[in-house]
Amino acid sequence: MSFKILVLAKQVPDTRNVGKDAMKADGTVNRAALAAIYNPEDLNALEQALRLKSKIEGASVHVLTMGPARAAEIIRESMYRGADGGYLLSGREFAGSDTLATSYALACAIRRLGKVDVIVCGRQAIDGDTAQVGPQVAEKLGLPQITYTEEILDCNSSEITVKRRLERGVEVVKGPLPMLITVNGTAPDCRPRHAKLTMKYKHAATLTEKQESGSDYTDLYTSHPYLNIEEWGVSQIEHDPQWLGLSGSPTKVKQIENVVFTAKESKRLTGSDFEIESLMKELITNHTIG
């Protein structure tokens, strides 16, 4: 039985480790100063996809990412951890996409893949924090969706059962396939790179990368077809140009503000049992902890 799992993943600037050069003078993110990393919640999504794959005979996991040429790294990284391959959607026509244009482009690319049983994406990316792309892709493809997934509990050829993490507890829901699910950061961490897979796939490359590298391994790609990462431009997907890139992006950034956190009020505790207890109560009540 062929069972296709597709992970939507994004390469993002590492906004968790910001240095002093993280923002430009105009208030926009200085991408050059930040390392490009695998969006953390997309790694949680990949782990769920890989676990699902191990439960279903004949299942495969592929990764779709949209971005510049270097975003192929996301696909290789996924292969090092157990994905079977991936597709890079790349081209200047996609530049400047907001969530609407991004989800449109991704949906067009997914249609090209034919039948996909489960689409798994991270809840949101750390460079935008919108949590919109996954749900929008589902809407555009006319698929049902389950958000805030913490664990895929069960799945057969027609149904998937998922545990969702909500603000005040968990919820178990079941839905028909094909289905799109978005995965929370509270889901299990992604497995590490696997040594043998890393050695096996380290030469995997897109056409652009092969052309640019002047690699010594030309015959390698004919004898090992799994090393060829598919790269799609606009011409490979059926689309309406007005919905792509800047023209397809109604979001306009009006203003960006640097927020500097400062301590506004402070409280001094002497360390008595009573004070500690009331502090704990306060923190639990306002959901700082617990």
Partner: protein, 569 residues
């Protein structure tokens, strides 16, 4: 944190001029490149593979093992129903490494291994130990598989080696209540059963690291009525947790608390013999111990590396009298000496490992085909070099791990004595390293013949013949003077022709050779290195070692045979 990427001295070792030879031998000129999709295609590809896999291990060290170290030290393993339950962190560490598919790192690909040379394995050991020296034992015991791979029958290899690659843990069950340093006294009994062709083990083992492991290599007495090393054979048993091997207790130790040290009771444990009967101690355990000593070298260097980082960071952050304490000569000298001892022991670690790699590769090739006369000579040469440097490495690196942990606490002052800082754990963890796998005193016993036969002197002369930067010429002159002092001291001790006197002076002589060898290695590294990472350590170590050599030379020069009696108690 990635313990491989943040330490450029490791990559530097992978670029050593002997590496092409090591890789070519290990890969049999890349014969498997079309057989396995992960096999290396050429030298550059191989080194790139080592780096990529070491990066995976370095990431697990930084993100999983190191953060778990404190809780593992605190919780430790426990015995439940005669079985060991690892601390939560230990379990997590082992799972992460298993998931990454890095166990069986040196084993042949046909058994699921990665077929990496020892240099890469030792590097992984260094990183794991830097993260948690106690856990380094559990990681390092995969070394047991090396002796299975080298000496066992194909049947045994096919059965056990894939298990190791899948993350089965190992233990080497050698010591007993009355057989510690003196393994000839081992009493655990092995009885052959003709009906099923298996051996059955009965008896008690003590101080067995990771004793509840799945795969056990056991030294046992196969010859009834014997009482020396020639009655011992070597066995492999799979611990199926069916009550034939029970953990009676685990020791409550000073350090490496995460590593369970077990007392085991064997009751009719089915086992299979590895290699030839009666050769257990003489051949296989000796080989196992040589591997284990290299492992302790890696563990010691890893601990020194952790100690140096703790000392340096604290000395930079801590302010007293209006400035960071690292600005005070008393502190910066201490930190520099920690670094010099770390760099010196690391240089010796990888030099030794390269020699081991070459002779082990020849040993494996010899099983496949006849070696040419030239190869045989090369094999013998590297075997001798490895034999000479291994005990020296084990002694120096473990002593320096202790000295460095001690000094790191000193740099921390009162805070270092508290449980709040990692250095007190490092200090406790380091303590065993000069003891297990042969005490420092026993390393001297193994090393002294290389002093008296002139092996060390020959090694030193070979290093002296290597080119070094012109600016280091004055250091070379000092090293030559130190070499003369060493040679004169050796001559004096040899001339007296008194075994007890030689034994009495042995450690001093081995130390003199060690200081000279490590100084040369650092200057040779500093010459090859373009990043200038070793120049300071080379000079600091030379200053330190020179005084030690002069001190020992002076002691030996004025010390006569009869003076030994003063020390007799």
């Amino acid at each position: 944190m990635n313990f491989f990427n943040d330490n450029p001295t490791l990559k530097f070792q992978l670029s050593h001029p002997l590496m092409p030879k090591i890789v070519a031998l290990k890969e049999r000129n890349f014969a498997e490149k079309d057989k396995y999709d992960y096999a290396s295609r050429d030298f550059e590809d191989a080194v790139d593979n080592y780096e990529k896999v070491l990066e995976i291990i370095g990431g697990i060290c930084g993100d999983v093992i190191a953060p778990n170290a404190e809780s593992v030290d605190h919780d430790g393993p426990e015995v439940i129903n005669s079985r060991v339950k690892y601390a939560r962190g230990t379990q997590e560490n082992h799972e992460a490494l298993t998931k990454a598919g890095v166990y069986g790192i040196t084993l042949p690909r046909q058994y699921g291994g990665l077929n990496f040379p020892m240099v890469a394995y030792v590097m992984s050991g260094e990183m794991v130990s830097r993260a948690d020296a106690g856990f380094a034992n559990i990681w390092g015991l995969q070394d047991c598989a090396e002796t299975i791979s080298e000496f066992a029958s194909d049947d045994i290899k096919n059965e056990f080696l894939p298990l190791v690659c899948d993350g089965a843990t190992c233990s080497m069950d050698l010591t007993e209540p009355d057989a510690g340093s003196d393994l000839q006294a081992v009493q655990l009994k092995a009885t052959y059963n003709e009906q099923d062709g298996l051996w059955y083990l009965n008896g008690v083992k003590r101080f067995i690291t990771n004793g509840d492991a799945q795969i056990k290599l056991v030294l046992a007495r196969s010859e009834d009525g014997t009482n020396d090393g020639r009655g011992l054979s070597y066995f492999v048993a799979e611990n199926k947790h069916d009550h034939t091997v029970l953990v009676r207790r685990i020791e409550n130790k000073l350090g490496i608390k995460g590593s369970p040290t077990c007392e085991l009771v064997f009751t009719n444990t089915p086992a299979r013999m590895v290699g030839t009967r009666r050769m257990g101690l003489i051949k296989y355990v000796m080989s196992l111990m040589n591997g284990a000593r290299l492992g302790i070298g890696a563990q010691s260097v890893g601990l020194s590396s952790a100690a140096y980082i703790e000392a340096l960071n604290y000395a930079r952050e801590r302010r007293q009298f209006g400035k960071a304490i690292i600005e005070f000569p008393a502190v910066f000298e201490m930190v520099s000496i920690i670094k010099a001892k770390l760099d010196a022991s690391r240089a010796l670690l990888y030099e030794t490992t390269r020699f081991v790699d070459i002779y082990k590769a020849y040993e494996a090739i010899e099983v496949e085909r006849k070696l040419s006369a030239e190869e045989k000579a090369d094999y013998k040469e590297y075997s001798k070099l490895a034999d000479a440097l291994t005990p020296m490495l084990k002694m120096f690196s473990s002593e320096y791990a202790n000295q460095n942990a001690y000094d790191t606490i000193q740099v921390h002052g009162g805070s270092g004595f508290m449980k709040d800082y990692a250095c007190e754990r490092l200090f406790r963890d380091a303590r065993i390293m000069t003891i297990y796998e042969g005490t420092s005193q026993l390393q001297v016993v193994a090393a002294i013949r290389h002093v008296t036969t002139g092996n060390y002197l020959k090694i030193i002369h070979d290093y002296d013949a290597q080119p070094i930067k012109v600016e280091f010429s004055s250091f070379r002159k000092r090293l030559q003077i130190m070499t003369n002092l060493f040679a004169n001291s050796v001559n004096r001790v040899n001339e007296i022709k008194n075994q007890e006197y030689t034994d009495f002076q042995a450690r001093r002589l081995v130390e003199m050779a060690g200081h000279i060898i490590m100084s040369y290695l650092l200057f040779i590294d500093a010459t090859r290195d373009k990043e200038d990472q070793f120049r300071k350590s080379a000079e600091v170590y030379l200053n330190f070692g020179e005084v030690e050599v002069r001190r020992h030379a002076a002691f030996i020069k004025t010390f006569d045979v009869e003076n030994v009696d003063v020390y007799k108690v």
